[in-house]
Amino acid sequence: MAGLITMDDLTNEQILEILSDAERLLPVARGELYLPLLQGRILGNLFFEPSTRTRMSFETAMKRLGGDVVNLGDVKTSSVVKGETLFDTIQMVDGYTDIIAMRHPRQGAAQYAQDAARVPILNGGDGAGHHPTQTMLDLFTIQQAHGRLEGLKVVLAGDLRYGRTVHSLSHALVRFGCDLVFASPDLLKMPEEIVSDLRAHGANVLETEDLYSSMAEADVVYMTRIQKERFADEDEYARCAGAYKLHARHLADVKQDMIVMHPLPRVDEIDPTVDATRHARYFEQAFNGVVARMALLCRLLGVTVPADVTAEGGAL
């Protein structure tokens, strides 16, 4: 069965269907309704790299739908440390589970795992590659705020070189005709091959180092953390860290309905003064990880989300 490795695995129509499924599953995600659509199914959580939100939201999503989860646990105590190949690990977990959510430090690991597995793989991040389930929750958050995905102006800021969330998201936004502004320090620019891919798809892309003046016309400002763990060179990190510090005072002239997003965790790229403004959406965005992943789990396991979940669901 096919998994979700990159956003290319979904058509625009499928993306909108999954977002619609997610919308209907909101009361289940909030725990207001019990709907065991995935009862008897097991998710394998294989996180070879640290994760808080992605791993926990996958686990919550599965359990809210009545399913169960098995975890690889800490890589340091698993057979990976004994030198087991990814291929062998996948062969084993493939036999234990119905679907696998995976994060791995090596780029291409998710596709490699999908080629080795019979069950669907959900790519929860592969090196600096892709993070499509994050993209789905990002799209859900944007659609919630603006009522549409088409034709928006989106500023993506921070670490665009190593940030896999922005790689997957920009590909998806371009498919919906959004205009993109990439704001980053020169060292952390969006990889050239991604920019040329996007332009080849007819995207209107602007690259700048000036985040603040690019925000005036924006519908979405998507901040990212400068990821210390992706730098081999400490000095290079020091030169980039703290490049952008979005403060409430920077939001005086932005559009009323502009939203600020962030995949979290943040360090100091969004000042806490932004939290109380009407623009802050990052905590809702983190919650949306549960509902978007619920919809994806159902889709990849071939389970239909009922049109009226209230009629089908029961009280907790």
């Binding site: 990159t6 030198g83 190949t85 990814l86 291929f87 791995h104 430090p105 090596r106 780029q107 291409g108 690991a109 596709q111 490699y112 080629d115 080795a116 592969d126 090196g127 600096a128 590659g129 091959e193």
Partner: protein
């Protein structure tokens, strides 16, 4: 200058392989891809930038006492996909070999991106590079999706 003239710039070989119609300036890269260096004991003749009716300019390589294998042809396809390869026996063309560059290059070279999952050589699944464009050649790894650095490929021959 005629094609015949170009071929005669170096002595005819008795037994071995002639690789003709190599894009001009690529002969050194071809040798690198084939693992032929100064340390190789067989005689190698190389002609660069000679006139060609078809290509304007071209390179030619003659390797004595060695017949290219299929896996060497697969490597050659990544540098000179339109080259002509002839096996010479007793001063005559005994066989003409065809180079095939398909849609995917499997288990010929490994991905040039240092953080690709396939850099762990113990991983058993095949090394797969997709041919995105033929002229000029552009390859992407099936797994990590990264464009391949063609200058690096010779160092990644399997």
């Amino acid at each position: 200058m005629s094609n015949e003239h170009s071929m005669r710039r170096v002595t005819a070989i008795r037994n071995g392989t002639v690789i003709d119609h190599i894009p001009s300036g690529q002969a050194m890269r071809v040798l690198e891809m084939l693992g032929i260096s100064g340390e190789t004991s067989v005689p190698v003749s190389l002609v660069m930038n000679v006139p060609s009716k078809k290509m304007g300019l071209k390179d030619i390589i003659k390797v004595e006492d060695r017949e290219l294998t299929q896996s060497e042809l697969d490597r050659l396809a990544l540098v000179a996909p339109d080259a002509h390869v002839a096996i010479i026996r007793a001063y005559s063309v005994a066989e003409k070999l065809t180079i095939n560059l398909g849609e995917e290059v499997v288990n010929v070279v490994r991905c040039t991106f240092s953080n690709c999952i396939t850099t762990n050589l113990r991983e058993p699944q095949p090394h797969r590079l997709r041919v995105v464009k033929r002229d000029p050649l552009q390859l992407r790894c099936h797994y990590c999706g990264r464009p391949q650095d063609l200058d690096e490929l010779a160092r990644n021959v399997l």
